[in-house]
């Protein structure tokens, strides 16, 4: 991966993502809480909507560009962009430069924003160099990870979330052999190929049920929705949590002093 300018000491513009905005606003607040806890100044550009990935992944590039241009406009003053999604982060980092490759008007801005965009855990660990939030979960929890595909394979995210959770008091990480297996979401795939996606989800749910973890932690609310709503459909306990919510729980009262 290309060396990027350090985001330390800079104001962070939060790209909360369309799904968090409308479905999981509390997760967005968790991100703000954790970043604020670390002394980071956060702003929220009101012009933001979506990164355009739904259209891009469906092959609708013109529509994706229209939405992406709104992103470029909304974040024109950003020095650092942080997003609680490996998938949307990868869209901006990997696909924007491609989407606007030959665009004289937006090309430079697309490349600039691609360079200053960080996924939430990556920003804390690789960007700020912090792995210990000095946090403590209210009650002991065993945690397994679901490494969401785009974060894992496009951004190389895996260690950051483990480092942060590993340092939370009361958190015990259990490794399982299913952390890197796709849950079957894939956006459009989950409706266009609903049966195949459903079969992948069923396998994932079997593994979740067999795991001893209290919570499965992931960095993307899209995978989270897919797994939790799948569990719910089968009458099982939805127990997939976003990493930001777990970390926010951890910093609420801080580490115990012994």
């Amino acid at each position: 991966m290309v060396e990027r300018e350090s985001p330390q000491g800079k104001r962070v513009s939060l790209f909360v993502t369309c799904m968090v905005d409308m479905l999981y606003p509390d997760t967005g607040m968790s991100v703000v809480d954790v970043l604020t806890h670390l002394g980071v100044e956060v702003d929220f550009p009101m012009g933001q909507t979506c990164c355009g990935q739904p259209a891009f992944n469906a092959g609708y590039r013109q529509e994706a560009r229209q939405v992406a241009i709104q992103f470029l406009k909304a974040f024109k003053d950003a020095a650092v962009i942080v997003t609680p999604s490996g998938s949307c982060g990868a869209m901006v980092r990997h696909e924007y430069p491609r989407l606007f490759a030959d665009d004289p008007l937006w090309g430079d801005e697309a490349r600039r924003l691609a360079n200053i965009t960080w996924e939430f855990t990556e920003f804390i660990v690789d960007g700020l160099g912090i792995t210990d939030l000095n946090g403590r979960l209210p009650t002991p929890q065993t945690i397994a990870f679901h490494d969401s595909c785009h974060g894992l394979r496009l951004l190389g995210l895996k260690q950051a979330s483990r480092a942060l959770v590993g340092n939370l008091e009361n958190a015990t990480i259990v490794e399982w052999d299913n952390s890197e297996t796709c849950c079957g979401f894939g956006g459009l795939f989950s409706v266009k190929m609903a049966d195949v996606s459903g079969a992948m989800l069923a396998k994932k749910i079997d593994h979740i049920e067999q795991s001893e973890a209290d919570a499965i932690i992931t960095g993307d609310v899209s995978c989270l929705t897919h797994m939790n709503n799948g569990l719910q459909k089968q009458g099982k306990r939805p127990r997939v949590k976003h990493i930001a919510d777990l970390l926010a729980e951890g910093i609420r009262d801080g580490k115990s002093v012994e």
Binding site: C18, D21, G28, G47, N57, C149, R153, S190, D195, N229
Partner: protein
């Protein structure tokens, strides 16, 4: 081979509910995947990744110089006494084989595994000319007995359970009943041995063609490739034009990543470098060796952004690693090449309109690229193919309209927010089953629930910031 890729969705659903197929494919792919993982990284992650990058560079180099390398290969082969033919499509490839058969008075043919001959439908062409043809790779032999097609490019019968293989051998080949896999293999081997001795012609594929020496390289585990290429009087190798690589040193790298990725072996049991027909001072080997370079749509890919698809060395790792392939098996893909690489090359070789569901047969999880020994960016090409479909007007009316409306609403923060408000208000009346194309979602999951207040509302409440939108 006939292309039924447009039937992917229906075929996939049948496969998902086929219990035997599920057992067999799940076992086969997971075992293939974990063996690959162990072999590729036996000397550490860094070493394995370095091998991949080296192999990737070699195949890209081969592709960049493809026309020159093909000419060089042809010249060196001819100098070694190999006769070289070119086939623009399936019909011409099969015609070449039939003419060679006629020239040498061939009645019976033995074949070792070759995917390109599946493309051309060679077996049918031979049978139509009353030439007997026998597949000698154990998996392909069983495929032939069952009158099926291979469902995997390395393990043709990965979709079959041991029991169904046993039953087939008993029914079609008069095997004495047994449950012992070794006894089954021994039975097949003995049956095949006799046929090798009687065959007039052996047909093989080619894993690599070495331009520098004009050699045909084959890797195999059963020894059948050696018998196919050395016992009969005539040997014909059919190879895709993309198989040519520059040097012996290149081959040394590729022959390390291929077996590791395919079967998790450091080396296959047999490696063959065939340099030509029997020489006057030699006691065995075929009298005549032919190589047929098959294009069959490849050169159409060559000058496009999809050229890297031609770097594929047919190891099958992307199939084993793919969660879609694991769920559906190979036949659902409808043509010769299944799995992620099949989802790319089937539309490219047979026409996007004939395989339009395949680019969507992926969650874009990226596993295929991660395991590919030559680092082919399959997800990127799937996305590009989706774009091509939309450009061709094949996105589907409902999706076309939906995406347009979505973009209209999402490129404007004002409309986007209004939509958010509406969704929040409607959250209590979300139906259990979503309508139209979204119905598939609620077949397997509950509907997503909109929050009473969006993040931006919470943010405004917290910060007291006014709603200024750019």
């Amino acid at each position: 081979m006939e292309n039924r890729s447009n039937n992917f969705i229906a075929a996939a659903q049948i496969a998902i509910h086929d219990a035997d197929l599920q057992t067999a494919v799940s076992f086969g792919t997971h075992s293939g995947f974990s063996k690959r993982q162990a072999a590729m990284f036996a000397d550490g992650e860094e070493h394995g990744q370095a091998m991949r990058q080296q192999a990737a560079a070699i195949k890209r180099h081969g592709l960049n110089h493809l026309p020159d390398l093909l000419e060089q290969a042809e010249a060196n082969m001819q100098a070694n006494g190999i006769q070289v033919l070119w086939a623009v499509d399936s019909a011409e490839a099969n015609q070449h084989v039939l003419e060679i058969a006629q020239r040498h008075n061939v009645q019976s043919v033995v074949k070792s595994k070759s995917m390109v001959t599946e493309e051309t439908g060679l077996n049918h062409a031979l049978e139509a000319a009353s030439i007997e043809v026998l597949e000698t790779d154990l998996g392909e032999y069983i495929v032939q007995l069952g009158e099926e097609t291979p469902s995997h490019i390395v393990v043709p019968i990965v979709h079959k359970t041991k029991e169904s293989i046993r039953d087939l051998l008993i029914e079609k080949a008069n095997m004495p009943p047994t449950d012992d896999t070794e006894a089954m293999a021994r039975f097949a081997r003995e049956t095949l041995r006799q046929r090798f001795l009687a065959a007039d012609m052996g047909i093989s594929g080619g894993n690599f063609i070495l331009a520098e020496t004009g050699s045909i390289c084959l890797v195999s585990n059963e020894g059948n490739a050696r018998l196919t290429t050395s016992l009969p009087r005539v040997h014909v190798a059919l190879v895709g034009i993309e198989k040519v690589i520059a040097t012996v040193a290149d081959y040394a790298t590729l022959t390390q990543v291929l077996p590791r990725s395919a079967t998790g072996q450091t080396m296959t049991v047999y490696t063959h470098l065939i340099n030509g027909p029997r020489q006057p001072d030699e006691t065995d080997g075929p009298e005549h060796v032919y190589v047929i370079f098959v294009d069959n749509g490849r050169s159409d890919i060559y000058n496009t952004d999809y050229v890297e698809a031609l770097a594929c060395i047919r190891c099958g790792a992307c199939l084993n690693g793919c969660p879609v392939y694991q769920a559906t098996g190979g036949h659902a893909y409808g043509w010769v090449y299944p799995g992620p690489i099949g989802a790319v090359i089937t539309p490219l070789l047979t026409g996007l309109e004939n395989a339009s569901p395949l680019p969507y047969a992926s969650s874009l999880c990226g596993m295929c690229k991660a395991v590919c020994p030559v680092d082919i960016d399959i997800p990127r090409m799937l996305l590009d193919l989706r774009h091509d479909l939309v450009e061709m007007g094949k996105g589907g009316t409902v999706w076309n309209a939906g995406m347009k409306a979505w973009a209209l609403g999402t490129k404007s923060p004002t409309i986007f927010n209004l939509g958010g408000h509406a969704a929040a208000l409607a959250r209590h009346i979300m139906p259990k089953s979503l309508p139209g194309p979204l119905k598939g979602w609620t077949d397997y999951r509950t509907s997503p629930k909109f929050a009473p207040k969006s993040f931006r509302q919470l943010w405004q409440e917290r910060t007291g910031e006014a709603d200024e939108q750019s």
